[in-house]
């Protein structure tokens, strides 16, 4: 026989529970991106494949290839940094959402979003240190990369990775990528993997699941 709930008690318990601090999900395995900053030619095929797959109008860009150039002749440099959502171990966007539209998958750590639940308060957009949540002006909602979760569940790779003609973008278990133990064409035999490149917000903020092969001028001292 089902015990009848004391709704007053439930309400008090619920209020106590929801005013607690947020505890991040600890996934069984964490997927992450790896990008080779040196060999990327900046063709933006990944950006376009992403926009195509997600039906994005001009404006929101889930993935972005950033051209970083500088120096003084003859010591000049140019390299690309390519980032989308970093599917952080402890995402800042997730706890800000008032409707629970953002969640982290326990099985592979993907930070997914159901934008049909979004009320457009834009708190997640502000909280993300890496600019991942994107504002859709027409719909007045936030959308973001979900690592093509449907492709992942079908055993394939995300559209951006599949579109990369230079094979400088890939995904894999992030722990193995950081340890250099994951076989990928994005990382050469003598390349050293880093977790942060110059001008990127500190990875200590949310522990982003991303690895880079950095340019010599993009290394963080």
């Amino acid at each position: 026989m089902t015990k009848k709930l004391d709704m007053k008690e439930v309400k008090v318990a619920l209020e106590r529970k929801v005013a607690q601090t947020y505890e991040p999900v600890k996934p069984a395995m964490q997927f992450g991106f790896v990008h080779n900053n040196v060999d990327c030619i900046g063709c933006r095929a990944c950006e376009i494949a992403c926009k195509d797959k997600n039906g994005l109008a001009p404006g929101p860009r889930f993935r972005r290839v950033m051209y970083v150039e500088g120096g003084t002749f003859p010591d000049v440099f140019a390299y690309k940094v390519n980032m989308s959502c970093n599917h952080c171990a402890e995402p800042a966007c997730l706890p800000t959402c008032p409707t629970g539209a953002i969640w982290k998958r326990e099985k592979d750590g993907i930070v997914d979003i159901d934008s049909t639940l979004c009320i457009g308060c834009r708190k997640c957009e502000a909280a993300c240190p890496y600019g991942a949540p994107q504002w859709n002006v027409q719909e007045q909602i936030i959308q973001k990369c979900n690592l093509c979760v449907d492709e992942i569940d079908a055993g394939r790779k995300p559209y951006c990775v599949m579109a990369c003609m230079m094979r400088v973008l890939d995904i894999g278990p992030i722990d193995k990528l950081w340890a250099g133990q994951h076989q990928t064409k994005a990382v050469g035999p003598n390349d050293k993997i880093v977790r942060q490149v110059k001008n990127m917000a500190s990875p200590e903020l949310t522990k982003p699941s991303i690895a880079f092969v950095p340019h010599s001028k993009g290394k963080v001292e």
Partner: protein, 268 residues
């Protein structure tokens, strides 16, 4: 919400630029206004910013999500504290226009937005750009969360610095759920920066003590909305009578707040 979509994107679309050219190039002139660059942005008023970016404060959240989730019925866990009031609102309005924000804070557009060349993806990318050491913005962000958001949305280092036996939410009952149990006497000169209203914050904390909700008042910023997993390294201003030896945890910390946030000393 019927503002120009042209100004909503970070970079004008080709179509917008073409339309703009027919109208005398006002948009491009506005994009490259000195107000978007240092040093003019440092003294820009909110009114000057909002003359073009008025949608920042005019836009409100949707009444309901596309699937029908009503904004009025949705409250996050951090929105159920005693200090939270009012309807769901946007990030910018919550920080600038709500009664609590106006009462406790003195945030301005340029508190967070310090400007940069709109062509640049990273500091130091052109001869006229800010140097690469400039930390006003980061890749994909127009602000640097480490020097802005983290001030109020970092972790509270309860164990490491204050020596509490555990995280605040686990041990707060031991301290009557009240930060002022200790902080009525320890580090009494607080919040003395231009972007906060120190007197209002202190008065609210005292009022919270009387209504037994002081925890909500302080913890709202000091750990209760910690989107980030590290603590902000607040400047360690030694208080009168404090010993000369700097503790280990404070060795890497500045001795005073950033100069742009320092309050002018009252004249005798």
């Amino acid at each position: 919400m019927a503002t120009s979509p042209v100004l909503r994107s970070r970079w004008p679309t080709p179509k917008a630029v073409a339309v703009d050219a027919e109208n005398g190039g006002k948009l491009l002139r506005a994009t490259y206004s000195p107000l978007h660059f240092k040093p003019a942005i440092e003294s820009a008023s909110d009114a000057q910013c909002l003359a073009c970016h008025k949608e920042v404060l005019e836009d409100k959240p949707r009444v309901a999500s596309p699937a029908g989730v009503k904004a009025a019925d949705s409250l996050a866990w951090y929105q159920r504290t005693s200090t939270y009031s009012g309807d769901q609102d946007t990030f910018h309005r919550r920080h600038l226009t709500t009664p609590l924000a106006k009462k406790l804070m003195n945030l301005k557009c340029n508190t967070c937005h310090q400007g940069h060349d709109p062509r640049e993806e990273a500091p130091g990318s052109s001869a006229t750009a800010a140097p690469q050491s400039d930390n006003a913005f980061t890749l994909r962000k127009q602000v640097n969360p480490e020097t802005t958001c983290l001030k109020c949305h970092g972790q509270m280092p309860a164990k490491e610095i204050m020596g509490l036996p555990g995280p605040w939410h686990e041990v707060k009952e031991m301290f009557q759920n009240d930060c002022l149990t200790c902080h009525a006497a320890i580090r009494t000169k607080r919040h003395q920066v231009t972007y906060l209203n120190a007197e209002a914050i202190e008065a609210m904390a005292v009022a919270g003590k009387e209504s037994k909700t002081a925890d909500d008042v302080c913890y709202g910023c000091h750990g209760g909305r910690s989107w980030y997993r590290i603590a902000y390294p607040y400047a360690r201003n030694a208080w009168p009578g404090m010993g000369d030896i700097t503790p280990e945890w404070a060795l890497q910390r500045p001795q005073h707040s950033e100069s742009r946030f320092l309050k002018a000393e009252p004249k005798p």
